[in-house]
Symmetry: C2
Subunit: 347 residues, 2 copies
Amino acid sequence: MIKHKTKLEDVAKLAGVSLATVSRVLNHPNIVRPELRDKVSQAVASLSYTRDAAARALKSGRTHTIGAVVPTLGISIFAEGVEALQNRLSEHGYTLLLANSQYDVNKELQEVRALIERGVDAIVLVGDSSSNEVHALIKKHGIPVVITYVAHSKRGTPAIGIDNEAATREMTRYLIGLGHREVGVIANVPAANDRSRARLSGILKTLEEAGATLPKSRLIKAEHSLVQGRMGLQQLMKSHPQITAVICTTDTLAVGAMTEARAMGIPVPSALSITGFDDIELSSQLDPPLTTVSIPAAEIGRGAADHLINAIAGLPIPLVTDLPFRIVIRGTTAKARTTNPRRLTRA
Amino acid sequence: MIKHKTKLEDVAKLAGVSLATVSRVLNHPNIVRPELRDKVSQAVASLSYTRDAAARALKSGRTHTIGAVVPTLGISIFAEGVEALQNRLSEHGYTLLLANSQYDVNKELQEVRALIERGVDAIVLVGDSSSNEVHALIKKHGIPVVITYVAHSKRGTPAIGIDNEAATREMTRYLIGLGHREVGVIANVPAANDRSRARLSGILKTLEEAGATLPKSRLIKAEHSLVQGRMGLQQLMKSHPQITAVICTTDTLAVGAMTEARAMGIPVPSALSITGFDDIELSSQLDPPLTTVSIPAAEIGRGAADHLINAIAGLPIPLVTDLPFRIVIRGTTAKARTTNPRRLTRA
DNA sequence: TTCTATCCTGAAATCGTTTTCAGAAACAGC
DNA sequence: GCTGTTTCTGAAAACGATTTCAGGATAGAA
């Protein structure tokens, strides 16, 4: 237990200078005469003095703290992004305040409010489907903010991430190029998830452009879990055995689908191609390894940190930082089988 | 942008009372006369006033903030624990400051120091292998702390978690009961990880007690990744084809091992039993589903939150909270095959 | 009605910094 | 040697809440 928390005054006394000088040495070392500066630094060191964060925050109005609200840490790309974010913040002397929304816009609002009351200097959000209240609140307090994992700005809010729609477009085109026309989709569509919507939209549009418009019955909406991936595939293949490719909007769903395909005795990729999205660690280690879209989660986290640190310093930051995704072609995709039960079912 | 941040004084003026009364209504509503209290509450609401956290912290010495340092969020049990911790803290008006150590004791120390300088009211650590400096620092500041994921207290520090050694003991006994004597182990052993050590120790001791002492060459030390699980299994089975069971200290390693077993054409569980530890989501969905140890990560997070909130309030908290683990027997374990290439190789 | 005990309320001090403002010191120019 | 600059330093005023301490109001008792 500490008896008498050392404060600025103690340092000043020991160094034989005023409070102001000590403060200056700590904050703007270059404006104080070298010999005094050294004397003060020495005193600081010998007392192992650290400034009281609360007092500092009160007077200066800055907490050196950044808040983030993610949907959940259970999804590894968010966990990875948060970790990278925290590491970068830490390097710059910032502390991360973390909250999760469980994909619930009201909980997100509540957590953002709590963060603002804590006086965070900036905020990181995921996606652009936060409620208007959230953005109004943030704007009202004049706090820098960045939305992550998406590469478009809705309300003029800076964004850093990938173009989800472009990614699924490319993946879908790839499958079409392999001759797939009988396609099924397993998509996770939580209400508050614009990323999933963008991914789905990319698939549907590309399919349509290729003249393979997706019938409703071939679109399975699922929660983001392995089980739902399994169930989705089962449902799809039972009712549409002619399907030659299944596009999933996340790797978790795709892995579930692969497991079920194996259980149903459907060989992947010879009889059925499966694709994912996210490129989680597991995907490359499966047998066969999963064809998927790799997204730079760590880079998103680091980039968000950098942007906000700049914004706090009053520097301008880019409105949209469109990071590259990567289509990773592995073992779960192949040319469409030609021995279809029936050929070309129309929508 | 806010022009004139509403403060206590504004509320007081509107309600026609003094600052002190407003503060009382906010902190100890019961000691102020109901009619005044209502008037103040109304004023607070109509101005949508919130107290300045920094000023509050400065004067009261409490930040209503709790810090946690975890090795990494990349391991799902930690992500799950952190999420549960944050949710519970949030319910009680606390904010989580999160940092990660990457299993590096120096980084952990540095992050703990940063947390303390931020003035956290309490700290959550993972495991009991933090450096002495960390504990000395925490003690010096008189900050409540709890270590998680383990069920023993080393330096008198409260702990909440499971008995890792007991868990692997039970699992190993189960395998021995199935007739396995030719056993291999894939263990992740980062330097700063007492949990892994405890898990390994439980395996080795139990094996020894059963007269099946593990030769060094059958213990593969691995990093915590799927790839290393694969490589571990390969190494093990190539040099010791007589092995009938492989115990892994995490599910990730076990999943890697399963993948490799399949690639090597070794049927699981008929020719080889494999066990994991953690029970991550994937494990139950594999084919065959993985036999493993299930640990109550969310409960650990919630419990840590509850303990610390109590400790801050000056209430006593239990030194050790030993939460139950669960041996989950699924499809990767079966009786030892009897058609061994060779019988009973001795150490 | 007056006095005492009980409850509340408000004025003011305080928490530990940062920062403005003005004055002291040092220096150069004439 | 004296005045005009320039550079640093220190005293003091915030920042916005919490809380002590004492006095005023109210109620109860005589």
